[in-house]
Symmetry: C2
Subunit: 461 residues, 2 copies
């Protein structure tokens, strides 16, 4: 993904449906993966990996929980260990990266509250002509079954597996599905379009490329291994054949587990620690800020969330020419520690009204953390879960790099919209970024078990 | 990078040189990184990370060596643990990913014998007009000093640091530099052009894009953390400003440490285990196969190697439609285990003459491992160190994905060239791949210490 021209390269159709099974093949007609000794040994390998992981995962959870962050619901283990407090460095992973898993089934979809994995793909699909509600329901069933299997390190059903992820374990794979506003009319569900999916307002700083924005369906694939994430994304593409085609796809990355002292301290490509002010699963209001309540509206969104996706290019050539002092005043935090300019460590509460000895605001009036703060936006809270991207360079020589911004909230009209509206007016950071893609998606609650699938309440009830 | 059109987007110039230091800045004039408390605390963090890592790294090396592979010279620790033999799964990393380091200084450059890290950038730079031998020497000095610092998790000198890698440790960062044939005349070194840099012959299956091939200088940046690798590549770009500009840049990935049972079993995007037949550092002939001997010619290449770089797109839509049996016969190995079709496990010696009960060859005549085997090519050996790439899709809907092939050898005329010549004639795999980029680079020996730099013997003697 690069510019308006390059971006057209991201538009595509799904791969052609598989041809009729070749009678000469031992495995061309799924599901019969155990028909060869090779496939059997692979299955054994996977089972062994997972069986051994079980015990270790429990230990990982216990210690991770003590750190106060990795206790996010639904995470079976932590990729990195908590700080032991003895010697200051305890980044040694407690569980093997490959064996770590995140359950697919649950009240909420996976990939929302988990710390960002090392690798991410985001993609939008558009329904192909002729796909209506039954076809969409069938696709969501196929996708859910495949995502559930892959999240456990099993071979996905319904497709001849590419084997790319074989022997790697789930590697904390999460797959998250969303519905864009455009899919409702296409699937004959116009009456069910949530008001929360009203188009985001146009912001003055937007430079959106339509072909790389929006879309009928949204998929977020994250894992701690690059081959596992590629395998999952590719599998979903194959399963979409005939029902939906990729509209755009982008690739992101975040910290590898174990690279930093604390569990995955994440910096963005500007060098700034990101996500500090995120709501925590332990916060009282976390669930209502992020998830639609069980009695919420529409009913089929119970346990769901709304995802705002933005591709935000950073003007790194310009940013990097700023002095450290300027950069820190733009953000409102010290770059090295993440501590606010009002004093303290990264997690110290920001004192927006603190003054310098000369009477000026310690955190400048246009500092990003001031303008984006909940206090400045009627308590608006977003659960940000962004990933960096770096796709080389643009024709003008500038890096094509920045942030794949993903934010979850129970209602975008009280979450992203007021915050972004304020940011585009007064944020000092805005001169160093350009919003190039945008999407808003309804992310339904999770499937409770293999008897259901994501979106079932929308598509069947 | 996508097609002939998209690829032009990868052409670029380096970022503009930094402006004159702003007098209002505390840190704009390097080297004075300790001028602020923030910078100081960052330095402390890094030192702590490294100090603690030391002891763990030693343990990692000892156990890793027992596994017979990770004993590659120059690797201070292993990213993943060796198989303990008890319970079959021991992928728990022995050292923290971030703290693991690979020394920059040594007889050979880093990034050749080390197992492939999780993240990789490859880039070629062209000298800017007016850059001659002194300018090139100065650039290699800056680059070497920065690479050496970053390999130890220190802030790179000579540039205002972007801080993107702050607090992440070296994460096994390696930076490898090479010289393309075109740089010799430009830098007034025409008489020193090694005969080994004669242009690779045109192979019938090539579909090379010139703008994404060759180049005056080649840089390979690898690390186990995405932010560390981005930081290093970006730093090198900044340090090149005024002397050289990026010609092309590509992004690759490999297995994350800990994702697989064995230390980093790597599959390519076709799902096949890759690199099995690679020469091992413990092989008798390894050094002469991979490195130019101390008494070799030209003398400035002592301890060096020649890198062949190819961007090989995989025709995945077509490949994935083949049955498992067909795929295995194309490669000559079982997909799940990597064992040869002649029998045994992944590391079992291939029996090229073994026959099936019906008298046919167990490993077909056009199987990739037969055609590429040293026995089929007068003993030609390559040290392959490839990375997968996945850059979305091409305009025709096909995945823009495949292999960034990197192969090191002491002489390409007895290494890559005869192998590739044979492959293009008889390899069953050739119908599923397209070579789109190519480069051949002289990779000099390493700098012995901070008193020297990579390329010094070429540029100063």
């Amino acid at each position: 993904m690069k510019d308006a021209k390059g971006m057209t390269n991201k538009q595509r159709r799904s791969p052609a449906p598989d041809p009729a099974p070749n009678p000469a093949s031992a495995t061309a007609a799924p599901p019969a993966p155990a028909a060869t000794s090779a496939a059997t040994s692979a299955a054994v390998t996977r089972r062994r990996l997972l069986a051994t992981a079980g015990g270790v995962g429990v230990a990982g959870l216990a210690v991770g929980a003590a750190a106060g962050y990795a206790a996010a619901p639904g995470h079976a283990g932590t990729g990195t260990g908590a700080d032991s407090g003895a010697g200051g460095y305890a980044g040694v992973p407690l569980t093997a990266l490959g064996a770590d898993s995140v359950p697919f089934f649950g009240t909420h979809q996976a990939g929302i509250v988990q710390p960002a994995q090392a690798r991410m793909y985001a993609a939008a699909f558009d329904l192909t002509a002729g796909t209506a509600r039954p076809g969409l329901a069938a696709l969501m069933k196929r996708w859910s079954a495949a995502a559930a299997a892959m999240a456990e390190g099993r071979t996905p059903p319904g497709v001849t597996d590419t084997d790319v992820a074989l022997d790697a374990g789930p590697s904390s794979l999460t797959v998250t599905f969303g519905f864009g506003a455009s899919v409702f009319a296409k699937a004959g569900l116009g009456a069910r379009l949530p008001e929360q999916l009203a188009p985001l307002p146009a912001f003055p700083s937007d430079a959106l490329v339509p072909a790389n924005s929006n879309g009928d369906l949204w998929v977020q694939v994250c894992a701690d291994d690059g081959l596992v994430s590629f395998h999952a994304m590719r599998t979903l593409q194959q399963l979409a054949a005939g029902a939906a085609a990729v509209r755009w796809q982008m690739t992101g990355f975040s910290r590898s587990p174990g690279a930093t002292e604390r569990p995955r301290t994440v910096r963005n490509l500007m060098g700034q620690i990101d996500g500090t002010n995120n709501p925590k699963p332990t916060d009282k209001a976390f669930n209502t800020e992020v998830f639609v309540p069980a009695a919420g509206s529409p009913a089929w969104m119970a346990g769901g969330s709304y995802a705002v996706f933005r591709r935000i290019r950073m003007l790194l050539n310009s940013w990097e020419q700023q002095t450290l002092t300027v950069q820190e005043r733009v953000i409102g935090r010290y770059k090295a520690t993440g501590g606010p300019l009002s004093g303290g460590a990264e997690t110290t509460t920001v004192q927006l009204d603190k003054l310098n000895p000369d009477g000026s605001l310690a955190i400048p009036g246009d500092a990003h953390i001031r303008v984006a703060a909940a206090q400045s936006n009627q308590g608006a809270v977003l659960l940000r879960r962004g990933f960096s991207y770096a796709d080389g360079f643009r024709p003008d020589g500038a890096p094509d790099a920045g942030l794949l911004f993903v934010a979850f909230q129970s209602d975008p009209l009280t979450g992203f919209v007021p915050v972004q509206r304020k940011l585009t007016r007064g944020d000092a950071l805005s001169q160093f970024i350009v919003h190039e893609s945008s999407g808003l998606f309804a992310v339904p609650g999770g499937a409770a078990s293999a008897d259901g699938y994501v979106g079932q309440a929308l598509l069947e009830s």
